[in-house]
C-alpha cells in the first residue's frame, strides 16, 4: 500500500500549486488526476486581476485576491520563466456613457480600498493601443493587474513535480481511519494513503464520496476563444483590454506568442458544449472594442465549467469535526484539507491557496482566511426539486464528471 506525506486530489492549477508548494518544503507528494490540467484551468485566460475583478461587497475575497496577487511574482519566479507570467497592464474601456459611469462608480469604491485605477482620455488610451475603436466612451488603466498562461503554468508545474508524482486515475472516495482521513480509494479500487489529503478537484469534489461536509458547488459554464493575430496586425493590443459594451463584460488578453484570448461568458444552462450564442456575443462585443478582431483567425473555442459557490468565494481550509462547537478552532477532521470552489479566480488565487495550504500542513492557521472555511455553509440539505430531478439528467452527470473540451 502506497503512502505519502501529502496527497492532492485534482491537478488543475490549484491542486498543482498546492502540491508544488508542499514539495518545495520537502514533503513527499502525490497528485491524483486522470487528466491533469483538463478542467477549468484549460479554459482560463489567466488574468491576475485582483483590482478589476473586485465586485461590490466582496471585500473578504478581495483580501485573498490581493494577497495572492502580491505573491505572484515570487511564485512565478519559483515555477520558472516558462509559465507565461507577464506584467501586462490592464486597460478598462467603456463602450458608451453608461458603461463609463459603471466603471467610474466602481472606481470610487476601488479607491476606498486603496486600489489604483487611473482614468485615461480615450485619445491617450488609443495612443497606447491604436487599434482600439475610436468611438469608445472612456478608459481607465489598472497597472497592477497582470497575466499568466494557465496551460503553460500547468505544464511547468507538472514538470517541476515530475511524472513520478502523478497517479493518473480518478479518486472515488476518501478513506477514513476512525476520525481521520488517511487517503483515497481510486475508482479501480486501489488505496493511496497519506498523512494529509487535499481535495482540490474543482467541481469533481461533488462526486468524491466520504466527504464530511457538503460542498455547495455548482457549474458556471464559460465560453472562451483563442485567436491568432496575423503578422501585420501584431500586436493587436499590448495591454489586456477589459471592456463593458452596453453593460456586457468582455476581455482581450494578448499572449507573447501573438495570439489573443477573448472571453468569457457565464452560463448556468447546464450545457457543456460551446454555445454558438456565446461565441457570437464575445466576438461582437470584442469587435466593438477592437474592430480588427474581425481580421483574426479563430483557432479554438472552448467551454468549461467553473466551480461556483453561493458567495463566489472559495472553500478553503480544514473541516470542523462533527459535533464541534462554533468557533472552536481546534477540533478539525485530521488529515483533510479542502481547496475548491475558486470560481472565476482559480489562476489568480493559485499562490494564495498554495500558501494557505502550506500553512495548514505546518499546523498554522491565519484568521484572515477563516471566512473561507469549507464548513461555513453548514450541512445544507439539497432535497430533490419536484419534477426536475426524478432522475439525474445526462447534462448534470456530464457536468459533474468534469467537462471535456468542446471543439
Amino acid at each position: 500500500m502506497d503512502s505519502t506525506d501529502v496527497l492532492v486530489v485534482g491537478a488543475g492549477v490549484i491542486g498543482l500549486g498546492i502540491a508544488w508548494e508542499a514539495a518545495r518544503t520537502g514533503r513527499r507528494v502525490a497528485v491524483v488526476d486522470p487528466a491533469p490540467g483538463s478542467g477549468a484551468s484549460f479554459a482560463a485566460a489567466g488574468m491576475l486581476a485582483a483590482v478589476s475583478e473586485y465586485h461590490y461587497q466582496e471585500e473578504e475575497l478581495l483580501g485573498l485576491m490581493l494577497a495572492s496577487a502580491s505573491a505572484w511574482p515570487e511564485f512565478a519566479a519559483g515555477v520558472g520563466g516558462d509559465c507565461g507570467y507577464l506584467r501586462t497592464p490592464t486597460l478598462c474601456v467603456a463602450g458608451d456613457a453608461a458603461d463609463r459611469q459603471a466603471f467610474a462608480d466602481l472606481r470610487a469604491v476601488q479607491g476606498e480600498h486603496g486600489l489604483a485605477v487611473e482614468p485615461l482620455s480615450v485619445r491617450e488610451a488609443r495612443r497606447r493601443e491604436p487599434l482600439l475603436a475610436p468611438a469608445l466612451a472612456g478608459a481607465f488603466e489598472i497597472a497592477a493587474d497582470h497575466q499568466v498562461d494557465p496551460r503553460r503554468l500547468v505544464a511547468a508545474l507538472c514538470g517541476r513535480l515530475g511524472e513520478g508524482a502523478f497517479v493518473r486515475s480518478r479518486a472515488a472516495s476518501l478513506v477514513w481511519d476512525g476520525p481521520a482521513v488517511v487517503g483515497v480509494r481510486l475508482e479501480d479500487g486501489r488505496e493511496l494513503r497519506a498523512a494529509e489529503t487535499v481535495v482540490a478537484n474543482g467541481l469533481g469534489a461533488r462526486e468524491l464520496r466520504g466527504l464530511p461536509v457538503e460542498l455547495p458547488l455548482r457549474p458556471v459554464y464559460g465560453d472562451i476563444l483563442r485567436l491568432r493575430v496575423p503578422g501585420p496586425l501584431r500586436p493587436l493590443v499590448s495591454a489586456t483590454v477589459r471592456g463593458l459594451v452596453r453593460g456586457r463584460p468582455v476581455y482581450i488578453v494578448p499572449r507573447a506568442d501573438g495570439t489573443v484570448v477573448i472571453g468569457a461568458t457565464q452560463r448556468e444552462d447546464g450545457s457543456e458544449g460551446v454555445s454558438a450564442g456565446g461565441v457570437y456575443e464575445l466576438l461582437r462585443d470584442a469587435q466593438a472594442l477592437v474592430p480588427a478582431v474581425a481580421e483574426l483567425e479563430l483557432c479554438e473555442t472552448t467551454a468549461r465549467a467553473r466551480p461556483g459557490t453561493p458567495d463566489n468565494a472559495p472553500l478553503l481550509g480544514r473541516v470542523r469535526a462533527a459535533g464541534d462547537r462554533e468557533h472552536d478552532g481546534e477540533a478539525h477532521v485530521p488529515g483533510l484539507i479542502i481547496a475548491t470552489g475558486f470560481f472565476r479566480h482559480g489562476v489568480l488565487l493559485t499562490p494564495g491557496a498554495a500558501h494557505v495550504c502550506a500553512g495548514l500542513l505546518e499546523g498554522r492557521t491565519d484568521p484572515r482566511w477563516d471566512v473561507f472555511s469549507p464548513s461555513r455553509f453548514g450541512h445544507r440539505g439539497i432535497p430533490a426539486l419536484a419534477g426536475a430531478t426524478a432522475e439525474r439528467p445526462p447534462a448534470a452527470e456530464a457536468a459533474a464528471a468534469n467537462v471535456r473540451q468542446a471543439t
Binding site: 455547495p216 458567495d311 426539486l385
Partner: protein, 273 residues
C-alpha cells in the same frame, strides 16, 4: 419607538391579508415580483430576495438549468418563493412555445412569463409573435403572463387571447429609464380585466411607486436590484416603494391645481371685534 405603532397597521395593509394580490386564483402577499438576472452571487441574490419580501420570482429558462443541484431554483425552493419561468432570449413564437413546454415539464407549473423579443438593440417585444405565442400557449393550457409593449391596444388584445396578466414595460429592459409613457400605462390599467404588472425599465424606488400610483397591480424588476451596488438595501427600498405606491393609489390623491390653496382656509375663522 411608540409612534410607529400608529402607522404599522396602515403599512401592513399593502402586504398582509387585507389587500392581497391575486393572479390566476393565487393570492400573493407581496406586489413586488423579482427577476434574477444579473445577480453577482447566489447568496447575494437570496438575501436581496428576502429583503424584497417577494413571493414570486421569474427565472430565464434558457439561462438556468433546473437540473443542477445547488442552483438558483434550489435557492427559491428553500425560501418558499414561487417560480415564474420566463422565455427570455426567444425571438419567435416557436422558440417561446418550446421554452414554455420545457419549463412546464421541469418545474411542473402552467405559469409562464412570455417574452418574445424583436431585436437585441431594443429588446422590445415583437407584438405579432407575442400575440401568436399567447394564443398558442393558452391553447396548450398555459397561464400566460404576457410581457408587452406599453401599447393599450396590444395589451387589450393579449387579454382577449387569454393572458392571465398583462405586463407592460415602463422602458426597455435594463435601461433603468423609469416609466416613459405613464399615460399609456394608465390607459392599460383602466381597460384591463386582468392584473397589470409594470415590467422592465425600473431604475429606482420612485419608478416603482409611480407604477403603483398609476394603478398597476404589481411591479416586476430585476437589474434595478441585482446590479445595484448594495442589492439588499435597494431591494428593501423597492419593498417600501411598492407598498407606498399601492397605499397612495387607494388613498385618493388631491387634484393638481394651477394656483395655491392654503391648507388652513380663511373661512370660518373666529372674528375678534
Amino acid at each position: 419607538m411608540t409612534q410607529d405603532t400608529t402607522h404599522a397597521p396602515a403599512l401592513g395593509l399593502a402586504e398582509a391579508g387585507e389587500d392581497p394580490f391575486t393572479v390566476d386564483g393565487v393570492t400573493l402577499g407581496s406586489r413586488l415580483i423579482m427577476g434574477t438576472g444579473g445577480a453577482p452571487s447566489l447568496d447575494g441574490l437570496g438575501l436581496a430576495l428576502e429583503a424584497s419580501g417577494t413571493e414570486l420570482t421569474t427565472v430565464a429558462m434558457r439561462r438556468y438549468s433546473p437540473a443542477e443541484q445547488g442552483s438558483l431554483f434550489q435557492l427559491l425552493v428553500d425560501r418558499g418563493i414561487r417560480v415564474l419561468p420566463n422565455t427570455a432570449g426567444c425571438f419567435t413564437a416557436r422558440d417561446a412555445v418550446l421554452t414554455a413546454e420545457l419549463a412546464r415539464e421541469a418545474l411542473e407549473t402552467d405559469w409562464v412569463k412570455l417574452e418574445v423579443i424583436a431585436d437585441e438593440t431594443t429588446l422590445l417585444p415583437d407584438p405579432i409573435e407575442l400575440a401568436d405565442a399567447t394564443e398558442q400557449l393558452v391553447g396548450r393550457g398555459f397561464k400566460v403572463f404576457a410581457y408587452t409593449n406599453d401599447d393599450p391596444v396590444l395589451a387589450r388584445r393579449l387579454e382577449q387571447l387569454g393572458a392571465v396578466a398583462v405586463m407592460p414595460l415602463g422602458a426597455p429592459i435594463g435601461t433603468g429609464l423609469g416609466i416613459l409613457n405613464p399615460h399609456n400605462i394608465e390607459l392599460i390599467v383602466a381597460r384591463a380585466g386582468v392584473p397589470v404588472v409594470l415590467d422592465a425599465g425600473i431604475g429606482t424606488a420612485s419608478d416603482a411607486a409611480l407604477a403603483m400610483e398609476l394603478g398597476c397591480d404589481a411591479v416586476l424588476l430585476a437589474t434595478a436590484v441585482t446590479r445595484a451596488q448594495d442589492p439588499v438595501r435597494m431591494a428593501s427600498a423597492f419593498r417600501y416603494a411598492v407598498q407606498a405606491g399601492r397605499l397612495a393609489s387607494r388613498a385618493g390623491r388631491i387634484p393638481r391645481r394651477d394656483h395655491a390653496l392654503a391648507s388652513s382656509p380663511m373661512e370660518g375663522r373666529a372674528e375678534f371685534l
